[in-house]
């Protein structure tokens, strides 16, 4: 079982804080991978315009880096900022890391003139094209994300070692939201793309636990023929895609995610004020029912953070914090490490029916129960 930690705060903080929290929970992973996602970015040496997309990944060879440069240029993206990590390669297990890149680009004017949907599509296709390019060249290029105000680092190894290797403690990068997963490798090979968090068009999730319904869910998502629904090096990638599908494709509110992945039973729905609608939703989204145990932690482009428990409630997660700073972690010690100056008596461990939402204003938590009604767009 992996360990998860997320911190969201009004004041940007160093990702190293989250790695410290991971260290507190180190019994729960085996050093087979770390994924780190930052959102709401600030750079010490650059005034970043949060509308510009950030490309993050790893070039494993010099040729890959130069292919990347010419590819982005051809596609019309202008490089505005190229973050230079101060790396200590000896701390990294893998030896084929030519360069960790984290770069901000300016979108081509032709793209800016297009609709938001088209822009989103182009950013996603660019990331997928880079990924495909790397795969065609023996995996020499790994592209994790290409999205405004989001940066991702993934590496094999112990979380704190990786943080030290990239000198993340130097405060040169800070973010208002940071989520990380320390991986306990189970049934899939060690692969950079298998590290959480997963992101698709700004919607990001990370998970612990195994997804036993993975194959039917993957089959259904692939059948949608949406270019972004691909990859699946990890069985947990589908959680991000289902969230994306629920919010973007179906236009449903965040609360509906819980009803899609873990619908209530017929008996429970009979007593639910939106029971009839939800029974229909359960039918149509039947192939997206996860059969956890999983705790799913996610963030959205507006910096909303959320935590959803699966129906069996066999995975741990705790949320705690104060006005302005909140933490979600697999263990209480993780929350302690992230927001020490809170009242721990107010920490909350959600049950199977709960979705925890930390809204962008970060004033207080929403503890939403699946048995409560939620507002639907254009009332169903």
């Amino acid at each position: 079982m992996c360990r998860l930690a997320l911190k969201t705060a009004n004041t940007a903080f160093s990702p190293y804080e989250v790695l410290t929290a991971m260290e507190a929970m180190q019994e729960g992973y085996d050093g087979s991978g770390l994924g780190l996602l930052m959102r709401g970015l600030e750079f010490e040496d650059f005034k970043y315009n949060s509308k510009n997309p950030i490309l993050s990944g790893i070039a494993h060879t010099e040729q890959a880096m130069s292919r990347l440069n010419s590819f982005m240029e051809e596609r019309g993206f202008e490089l505005k900022y190229d973050h230079e990590f101060e790396t200590i390669p000896s701390l990294i297990e893998a030896k084929d890391r030519f360069r960790y890149f984290l770069r901000s680009y300016r979108m081509p004017d032709t793209l800016k003139a297009k609709s938001q949907t088209e822009i989103d599509e182009e950013l996603m296709l660019t990331r997928l094209a880079l990924r495909a390019d790397g795969e065609e060249h023996g995996g020499d290029l790994t592209a994790f994300s290409f999205w405004p105000d989001v940066a991702i680092i993934k590496e094999v190894g112990w979380p704190l070692d990786i943080g030290n290797a990239l000198t993340l403690s130097d405060n040169r990068i800070r973010s208002r939201v940071c989520m990380a997963q320390g991986r306990q490798n189970t049934n899939y090979g060690i692969n950079l793309y298998a590290c959480h968090p997963f992101i698709i068009q700004g919607v990001a999730t990370m998970t612990n636990g195994e997804n036993s319904a993975f194959v039917p869910i993957r089959d259904w998502l692939l059948g949608q023929h949406f270019p972004g629904y691909t990859g699946y090096q990890s069985d947990s990638e589908v959680f991000a895609h289902i969230l994306h599908y629920t919010l973007t494709k179906l236009g449903l509110p965040l609360e509906a995610y819980k009803h899609v992945i873990t619908p209530l039973s017929t008996k429970e729905l009979d007593a639910h004020p939106q029971g009839e609608f939800l029974k229909g939703l359960r039918n149509t989204c039947r192939r997206l029912i996860i059969d956890g145990p999983n705790a799913v932690i996610g963030t959205l482009p507006d910096e909303t953070c959320m935590l959803v428990m699966d129906q069996k409630k066999l995975r741990p997660a705790t949320v705690g914090g104060r006005d302005g700073a909140w933490a979600i972690a697999s263990e209480m010690c993780g929350v302690d490490a992230l927001v020490p100056d809170r009242d721990p008596a107010l920490d909350f461990q959600p049950m199977r029916e709960h979705t925890i939402i930390v809204p962008p204003d970060r004033k207080e938590l929403t503890i939403w129960s699946q048995h409560d009604p939620f507002l639907l767009p254009q009332a169903a």
Binding site: T186, N187, G209, E210, S212, A213, F214, V215, P216, D219, W220, L222, G223, Q224, H225, Y245, K249, L250, G251, L252, T262, S265, T266, F277, G280, L281, N283, T284, C285, R286, R287, I289, I290, D291, G292, P293, Q311, K312, L314, Q378, A380
Partner: protein, 546 residues
């Protein structure tokens, strides 16, 4: 040349050793009560007086002579019409265990004579192939042990139901919800459905027992079992019953009973579970239903709107329809309209290499509520032996191919596939059914298994009994003769139905729990399947394990 009449044999003369079953009778135990001869459905045995000569030689008197003793015993007839079928009713009724049929281990020559009077062999039952089926060989090998906490089949909550009926794409569902459009009807049902066996094929007592059992499962046990009627219409008391909601009405090419059904619509207290349009069945693909004259009793004749005592062979196709657009699209639409678009309508076809064409036609038909595919191991009340044994397609690869086709189109949730034909053939009903579910079926239909398990049907794949076609079912399951069907107590059948479903319900959980599944039926979870047969594994796109 003139035949030598002194040897009393004809080409068709048979002796005991030529018959498939030999009746062994122990005279030392027989009480001559006559129950065995009375119960034998084939009149294969008879009570006879015999005389035995006892040669007598008195040496001292130098005279020779004979004494004669007479005795009474049970003898077996050797004519084709009276050949023993191995049903063992004689041993069941014998008070002294003096009689039983024994399978003939020699080749039996009746196979060459079962076409008397030019009529090919017709029978009930299913394909006479014994041994483990492909479904029996499938293993559930993806076990959640330490990567996930294993679930407890006895204590965790499980959702094992499935959906029957057309399901919309999620975006389309939301759109219709907003705009008040038509949402196709669906039913949440138990994935093991009692397959279509008609009023006519089954005796009134069998039907009553099944209906009682199904109602009990739903109303008392909370297991939402549904049952298909087959093509025999439906008695008015059933059509007007509040339990009609547990019944799938079938319309087939003979349209038997549909006058009654259509007229009863205004009086129905609830809608039926679904309407099944039968285009084909696994036991006899390309053939219509067949109810032989023996079974067309007064009651059945009335139900079906036909004269008594005539053969009722349904045509192989729906006669008014000449193409797939007509027969599938219009018929589904018409029936959907008849029930105010509130009842799922789905076709039943025989498994075949053309099943995918039908499937793809249905994908584009918004009124189609599913597809039932019936494989070669499906049972029937009456069919030509050659159809049963040699015609058709096994269910596993047919369902799998159709499911993969739906996956490629992203439509696997929209059009549920149901599978039938050989589920539980060797008793492994839950295992067989769940294997098909993980190959892609949304549920399975079980017919023969129910007859065997709920009513003690004696038929098997060594051609035991299998006389459902001629209405002499010794258990009273498939007979329309009151003397026979009174043997079957409907209450006991209902009790067995409840027991069977309680047990399947538990076994499903015992299969799902180790896989880490409890929230939804693992439809298409092919990563959980393995088989020690490389060719089958490749064909089914599942793991080869050894």
């Amino acid at each position: 040349m003139v035949s030598a009449r002194s040897i009393p044999v004809a080409p068709g003369s048979l002796s005991y050793t030529d018959l498939p079953w030999i009746v062994q009778h122990r005279e030392d135990r027989c009480t001559l009560c006559g129950q065995c001869t009375a119960v034998c459905p084939k009149e294969a045995i008879y009570l006879a007086y015999r005389r035995q000569r006892m040669p007598k030689l008195d040496v001292l008197k130098k005279s020779r002579g004979n004494e004669y003793r007479t005795f009474v015993g049970i003898r077996q007839k050797t004519s084709m019409a009276n050949a023993c079928i191995g049903c063992s009713m004689c041993s069941m009724v014998c008070p002294n265990e003096a009689i039983m049929p024994v399978p003939n281990t020699n080749e039996h020559r009746t196979l060459f004579f079962n076409n008397q009077k030019g009529e090919p062999n017709k029978r009930g039952g299913r394909r006479n192939v014994t041994g483990p089926t492909l479904l029996d060989q499938i293993m559930f090998d993806r076990i959640s042990m330490l990567t996930d906490p294993a679930l407890d089949a006895g204590r965790h909550e499980f959702n094992v139901t499935t959906t029957l009926g057309r399901i919309l794409d999620p975006a389309e569902y939301l759109k219709r919800q907003r705009e008040g459009g038509w949402i196709p009807p669906t039913r949440e049902i138990f994935p093991f459905i009692i397959g279509s066996m008609s009023f006519g094929a089954l005796s009134p007592n069998m039907w009553l027992g099944l209906l009682q059992g199904v109602a009990y499962c739903n109303e008392v046990l909370g297991i939402p079992v549904v049952i298909g009627t087959g093509e025999g219409g439906c008695p008015p008391w059933v059509l007007k019953s509040p339990y009609l909601k547990y019944i799938i009405l079938q319309i087939a090419s003979g349209y038997f009973g549909w006058d009654e059904i259509i007229r009863a619509i205004p009086d129905m207290k609830c809608n039926p579970a679904a309407i099944e349009i039968k285009y084909g069945q696994g036991a006899k693909p390309g053939d219509g239903g067949l109810l032989m004259w023996y079974k067309v009793s007064k009651l059945i004749a009335r139900l079906r709107g036909v004269p008594e005592g005539v053969d009722l062979p349904s045509p192989p196709v729906h006669q008014t329809l000449y193409s797939i657009e007509e027969s599938v699209m219009k018929m589904i639409q018409t029936l959907s309209t008849a029930f105010d678009h509130k009842v799922p309508i789905y076709p039943k076809i025989s498994a075949s290499t053309s099943a995918k064409s039908v499937l793809n036609n249905l994908v584009r038909n918004p009124y189609a509520g599913g597809l039932l595919i019936d494989g070669i191991d499906g049972g029937t009340g009456a069919a030509y032996n050659v159809s049963m044994d040699a015609t058709g397609h096994p269910i596993a690869s047919c369902v799998r191919e159709c499911y993969l086709d739906l996956i490629a189109q992203g439509k696997q949730n929209e059009l549920p596939i149901f599978a039938a034909g050989g589920v539980g053939k060797n008793g492994n009903v839950a295992q067989n059914g769940m294997a098909l579910v993980m190959l892609g079926a949304s549920g399975v239909h079980i017919g023969k298994y129910i007859m065997q398990a709920a009513a003690g049907c004696l038929g098997n794949e060594k051609n035991r009994c299998n006389v459902c076609n001629v209405g002499i079912c010794p258990k009273g399951i498939t007979s329309q003769n009151p003397k026979l069907y009174r043997r079957l107590n409907p209450d006991l059948v209902a009790e067995r139905v409840a027991e069977i479903y309680m047990s399947i319900n538990t076994e499903i959980k015992k299969i799902m729990a180790p896989l880490g599944r409890s929230q939804s039926l693992p439809i298409g979870m092919s990563d959980a399947l393995g088989i020690a047969d490389k060719a089958a594994a490749d064909r089914l796109h599942i793991k080869y394990v050894c």
